[in-house]
Subunit: 290 residues, 2 copies
DNA sequence: TCGGCCATGAAACATTTGTTGCACGAACTG
DNA sequence: CAGTTCGTGCAACAAATGTTTCATGGCCGA
């Protein structure tokens, strides 16, 4: 009974529509126009909204070759399923495997970090991005584990502002860069407890130089947040385990870059395309194949 | 809106998740990871696939403030309803035009990435950690934006296994390291579309050398996943915006390090303490004050 | 006009749905 | 160790769902 379905259920419906009885046409049009509700609401609900008889839906389904409304709805549901990554059945497997201690540790971490992401305030990020947008130059600082965040931010920002962004200490001792801070520039400092002396020094230098200071930290009381124009908070200790979590900081960095990029408009887009073309020309990437 | 902050039902679920009973956590994770099916399939169907009791779904809904499963599902279906009269692309645009357009972009990103974290399979991470635990030496590879992930992993692993971990190309040309791969060693390669040639070469070298290959990628079809002993998947494209998201990869890296550490037992703990003492002695960190 | 046919709505049907009461067991408390 | 709470699976429940049946009424050909 289940045919290979060369057409999507909606197409089948539209094709068969003209040859149907009047009332079934009305119902069919209603389903086609409200296919989302068709998959979620009950048949009786739909009938009430469409001003038709519930039985009409069953008859419509049978009229276009399905065994009943349930089967039609199932087809519609599968047709509009997002991201056809994996069928329903195979996705459940991974979690189910028992009370393994290691697996539990991992899922606990993901749970906590997933919730932690949602608690990050979005407003300050948008404001900080505006500050980055108008900055003539952007310095980025992060030591120890925060270095990875700093480098990601540096990488993404340089994709569309290649010669205005650099990591403090990236091309020599930090001290050389500290003296280069100027008003109108922006300095980003990333850090969490325990705070490194070096990052605090950078923050203080930025403050004294009159540069816009953006702190990405786990607390407003963090020393590098003193005097900062923008403080972007994340939860480093939210997840169980032994090391503080950088997931929040990474998410902030990526959002910061994304918003700054969108503020950059067509100019930024053009720069990004140029960069991509250059990378492709250097055949950095593996070419896509069908 | 009387409430200060209105979360989507999925967000509420993810926030409440960590504080729920174990069985309800499992069910909650399942719902969060399969929210589309949650809106379309019946409660009993879901229970069968998730391997849980149908009643657990009702209890989950009540635990997070709904009157029952029906109400939770209604909220979920409304949350993922496509706005009428406008296709997706148009809707995305129009939403980014208000005064808070940037803020909306950020919250959308966090929401998507928060959901993406829960879809990461935990089991393979635990297995990969066991492989790392027994590896005599660990090599880590990541290029371009993935370099930051590689460096974080390198940093955290070296905290308790300082002389067995290193980044490929960290001390000279990559080619020198490729020849050093041996059986009994582990090679971690991180990458997502578009894949760099360099990372694929490292993966192939590891495979040929008989080393344990661990791929952290966005697809099982990624070239560096060919022949890999462990493939850890994350969603790079899940979040709106212009750059792929590294949040999932970072979360995986951190979990990998955490589990490997816990497998290390007291020996690893001792090593970590030694490292901390040494850093404190060098007064790297700002001393805590009351 | 009659008789067959079909479309249509209302009501009765068997199923499936979400829910709830209950019992058992583990974990915690005094 | 007893007493309590809490989490959990099972089974029965009422409500709802989709389907079917039946009666009605309009339409067309004889």
């Amino acid at each position: 009974m289940a045919e290979p379905a060369k057409f999507s259920p909606l197409s089948e419906l539209r094709i068969a529509l003209p040859s149907l009885p009047m009332r079934l046409q009305e119902v069919g049009r209603f389903v086609a126009a409200n296919d989302y509700d068709a998959t979620t609401r009950s048949m009786r609900d739909l009938a009430a909204v469409a001003g038709a008889d519930p039985a009409a839906f069953t008859r419509l389904a049978k009229a276009i070759g399905y065994s009943g409304w349930d089967e039609l709805r199932a087809a519609l549901t599968e047709a509009r399923r997002p991201s056809q990554l994996a069928p329903f059945s195979v996705r459940a497997k991974s979690r189910r495997h028992g009370p393994n201690a290691d697996v539990a540790l991992v899922t606990d971490k993901f749970d906590a970090e997933s919730a932690g992401l949602l608690r990050i305030p979005a407003q300050p990020i948008a404001e900080a991005a505006r500050a980055l947008h108008v900055a003539k130059r952007i310095w980025i600082t992060g030591y120890r584990s925060c270095r990875s965040v700093a480098e990601l931010l540096n990488y993404e920002l340089r994709l569309f502002r290649p010669d205005q962004v650099q990591i403090v200490g990236g091309s020599g001792p930090d001290d050389l860069d500290l003296g280069a801070f100027r008003p109108g520039q922006a300095v980003i400092v990333i850090g969490f407890l325990p705070y490194t002396h070096a990052s605090v020094r950078v923050a203080q230098a930025a403050y004294r130089a009159g540069a816009t200071l953006i702190a990405i930290a786990d607390s407003v009381a963090a020393p590098m947040a003193e005097g900062a124009d923008h403080v972007l908070l994340f939860e480093a200790a939210s997840s169980p385990g032994f090391f503080p979590s950088l997931t929040g900081a990474i998410a902030i960095a990526q959002s910061l870059a994304a918003v700054t990029f969108s503020l950059g408009g067509t100019a930024a887009k053009k720069r990004l395309q140029d960069t991509e073309v250059r990378l492709a020309a250097a055949s950095t990437y593996v070419s896509e194949k069908g």
